[in-house]
């Protein structure tokens, strides 16, 4: 009898405590949504990439200004592919994503279809920010029906980073103005590469075919059709877009001239290539300067320099910050996102990692225009990259851009490994079509 009653008492306590827990849990939810702006909140920021987004100092400042806010960052060191897979699942499931998530230029289009799972930042007062941005960057962050999905962080812009020591050894000029003048076009770039290859048997002129290709494609498409694998109605045009064929042919020409180091981008061997200095140039969006510095390390300080890219500007990469609807602190998250993407914050990130601002106010700021990078032989990186970004023609990227791009990149890697160029082009068309289905 006493056992039963004790059991019953336990049951009663258990039920009561569950009920209390449940009500307090609900209470938590509703109170955070309530009006008190000073209630303590913890915001989780999801970023990607080996270098992260360079926000550490900004978090500290923001926490000082808003003592009730705690910020946690996740994802530094995570590759874009893994990051995006996880994020897609979290967004579709409606839970697990951070309060602020970073979306990359090539993948944000994929989330247009799920715009209803994100906070329309125009509702949080972000609509006024439109005038602050480069118009094409703002457009990329906005869905076709006008919802503000993400606030732009950086843009890629375009230049060529090169090793002065290898250039010198191959009897090429090393001064960045002269180097930039060597290659008015990509064909001229390949010609210089052939000269380099004749003088240097050991090292290669270009790191990989895929980086070269992506840069050439974005530039060709910017000056041409304005889109790559998908046209603006999201129809797959891999086979019919002449810009893709142009970029592909130029790349296979570069490979057959034996200029590529055949390194798979972002692989361990590619990283080792920076350390061992086995290639002389790399297509260089602004964010790549941070990658080079991180991978090549202190030993290569002063050996790198930055020159103008062949052709007329171009863009590769850049990101956005968005707030998923699964966030329990949407307003606080939107405020933080606005802070992190403000012109002043973009300048801070530029100073730290070299990521190029996406707001003209920041791009024209003396802190950017007069910036030099000690690591890159004091190159005026602000001037070089900002010039490219303001006059840049944007390229539209379709929903499965990443998957189709991987298929074409794989075809180019096969050429590096010895496959014939026209057979590889057929593979690219076939596998690209399957990937974009």
């Amino acid at each position: 009898m006493s056992v039963t009653s004790r059991r019953r008492r336990f049951a009663a306590i258990a039920i009561a405590s569950v009920a209390v827990l449940a009500t307090t849990a609900c209470g938590d939810d509703s109170s955070t949504e309530s009006a008190d702006p000073n209630a303590p909140v913890t915001l989780i920021v999801d970023v990607f990439g080996d270098q992260g987004f360079g926000y550490e100092g900004l978090y500290e400042q923001y926490k000082k200004d808003h003592p009730n806010v705690t910020i946690q960052e996740r994802g530094k060191g995570l590759g874009l592919g893994d990051y995006n897979t996880r994020l897609t699942q979290q967004i579709t499931a409606g839970s697990g994503a951070g309060d602020i998530v970073a979306l990359e230029e090539g993948t944000i289009v994929q989330f247009y279809a799920q715009a209803d799972k994100f906070v329309n930042l125009a509702d949080e007062g972000a609509g006024d920010l439109k005038a602050n941005y480069l118009p094409w960057k703002w457009e990329q962050g906005t869905t076709p029906d006008g919802k503000v999905l993400g606030l732009g962080t950086d843009v890629g812009s375009m230049a060529i980073c090169y090793r002065t020591d290898l250039f010198k050894a191959a009897n090429l000029p090393t001064d960045r103005e002269e180097v930039g003048a060597l290659w008015p076009t990509w064909d001229a770039f390949i010609e210089q590469g052939v000269k380099f290859a004749a003088a240097d048997q050991k090292n290669k002129f270009v790191d990989s075919a895929t980086n070269f290709y992506n840069v050439v494609l974005s530039q060709t498409a910017g000056g041409g059709t304005g889109y790559t694998y998908y046209d603006k109605s999201n129809k797959l045009v891999l086979e019919t877009n002449p810009d893709i064929q142009t970029a592909f042919n130029l790349t296979t020409k570069m490979i057959s001239a034996k200029l590529s180091n055949n390194l798979q981008s972002f692989s361990n061997e590619w990283n080792a290539g920076f350390k061992n200095g086995t290639f002389a140039t790399i297509a260089c969006p602004a964010w790549m300067t941070g990658v080079i510095k991180g991978q090549a390390g202190d030993a290569a300080a002063g050996k790198w320099d930055v020159a103008k890219a062949p052709g007329n500007g171009g863009n590769w990469g850049g990101a956005f910050l968005a707030v998923p609807k699964s966030s329990k602190h949407q307003k606080a998250a939107a405020d933080l996102a606005k802070y992190l993407t403000s012109a002043q914050s973009q300048i801070e990130v530029f100073k730290k990692l070299g990521n190029l601002p996406s707001q003209p106010a920041a791009l024209n700021d003396p802190a950017v225009t007069s910036a030099t990078n000690e690591y890159f032989s004091n190159a005026p990186i602000g001037k070089i990259f900002a010039a490219g970004a303001t006059e840049l023609k944007p390229v539209y990227l379709g929903p499965k851009n990443q998957a189709v791009r991987t298929a074409v990149e794989n075809a180019l890697r096969a050429v590096e490994q010895g496959q014939a160029a026209d057979a590889a082009w057929k593979d690219a068309l076939k596998n690209g079509a399957a990937a974009g289905k």
Binding site: Q264, N268, A403, N410, Q417
Partner: protein
């Protein structure tokens, strides 16, 4: 289970009629006891089935459903497409390429793996110095993480500064681009698999060998049979059921080969398994379809076809096993 306990309460009731006046108070308790006897066994096994239902039955059911749709995070609505996904798999060259790769690597790794394991076990079954040390040593690779194995082997098989190419260079062979050539990549991945699993299989064989009656060997030795003859005519026939067991385990593992080929390439596009899918396995293709192409419905169909393939292979193994045991 509760058959001999169940009748007890009614029996007690008859033998103590004096208790009847307390009946109304005891009745709920008695029915509680009966409930306890009837229900509690199910409660004890419940945790397993709840977890099974959540993590196995539900996902399997959901996979079947999703395979009949065009579900994708990029589609606002889900539409039922019937067997379209399965028809597409039939004509999908990348899928069949993955099937060929999977079976190719399975054959390339399993045959030497089991042979080496047999020879190792046979060697360790003799009286040698440091017996325990060697027996422990062959089991060591099992406790290393697959990811670590794959990372280290992918450095050994690196194109530029890899150990394998350096060794080939010493004997005057041109360096091989291990990721470019289909068979070279299969070979490299097979060595990873074998390094990790040879010891495991050898231990199983060793245990089985030790249970073979020593008298048979003695009799054979008296008749003048050599060690080799003893191995083929006594050890192997006695090990048959064990060999079948290891074959089945290797089949299941081999058809789900994933981590080794995935981590064989680092950097972007690893899930493609080489520039032309030289070493993309079925499980890698499944994730490729799901995570880079966002075709969840199609990925569900791929998963079900993989299930059918494994079931078919297991059936073949089972028939083989029955055949061999009836031979005896």
């Amino acid at each position: 289970m509760s058959l001999d306990l169940d009748p007890a309460p009614p029996a007690g009731r008859h033998s103590h009629p004096a208790d009847d006046e307390r009946g109304p108070r005891r009745a709920p308790r008695r029915s509680l006891t009966r409930l306890d006897l009837k229900v509690s066994p199910y409660l004890y096994i419940l945790p397993f089935f709840v977890i099974f239902a959540i993590f196995s039955a539900y996902p399997i059911g959901y996979t079947v459903w999703i395979a009949l749709t065009d579900r994708s995070p990029m589609n606002a609505t889900i539409s039922f497409v019937g067997l379209d996904n399965f028809v597409e798999i039939g004509q999908d060259p990348q899928f069949w390429n993955a099937v060929v790769n999977t079976f190719g690597m399975f054959a390339m790794s399993t045959v030497p793996q089991l042979l080496i394991a047999l020879l190792l076990a046979n060697a360790l079954n003799r009286r040698i110095k440091g017996q325990t040390f060697f027996r422990m040593a062959i089991a060591m690779p099992i406790i290393t993480s697959t990811a670590v194995v794959a990372l280290i082997f992918s450095m050994i098989y690196a194109r530029e500064f890899g150990l394998a190419n350096w060794l080939l260079d010493l004997v005057g062979i041109d360096p091989i681009d291990w990721r470019a050539n289909r068979y070279a990549s299969w070979f490299a991945i097979s060595t990873m698999v074998d390094w990790r699993w040879v010891g495991y299989n050898a231990l199983i064989y060793l245990a089985a060998m030790q249970s073979i009656n020593k008298d048979i060997y003695e009799a054979a030795a008296l008749d003048g049979a050599s060690k080799t003859r003893q191995f083929w005519s006594i050890t192997i026939p006695q090990l048959r059921p064990t060999i079948i067991f290891t074959l089945i385990i290797s089949t299941i593992g081999g058809l789900q080969l994933f981590t080794e080929p995935l981590l064989f390439t680092s950097g972007s596009g690893g899930i493609s398994g080489g520039s032309q899918g030289q070493f993309q396995t079925i499980t890698m293709y499944l994730l490729d379809v799901m995570n880079t192409r966002f075709r969840w419905g199609y990925a569900g169909a791929v998963a079900l076809v993989l299930f059918v393939l494994i079931a078919a292979m297991s059936a073949i193994n089972y028939l083989l096993a029955r055949r061999i045991s009836s031979d005896k």
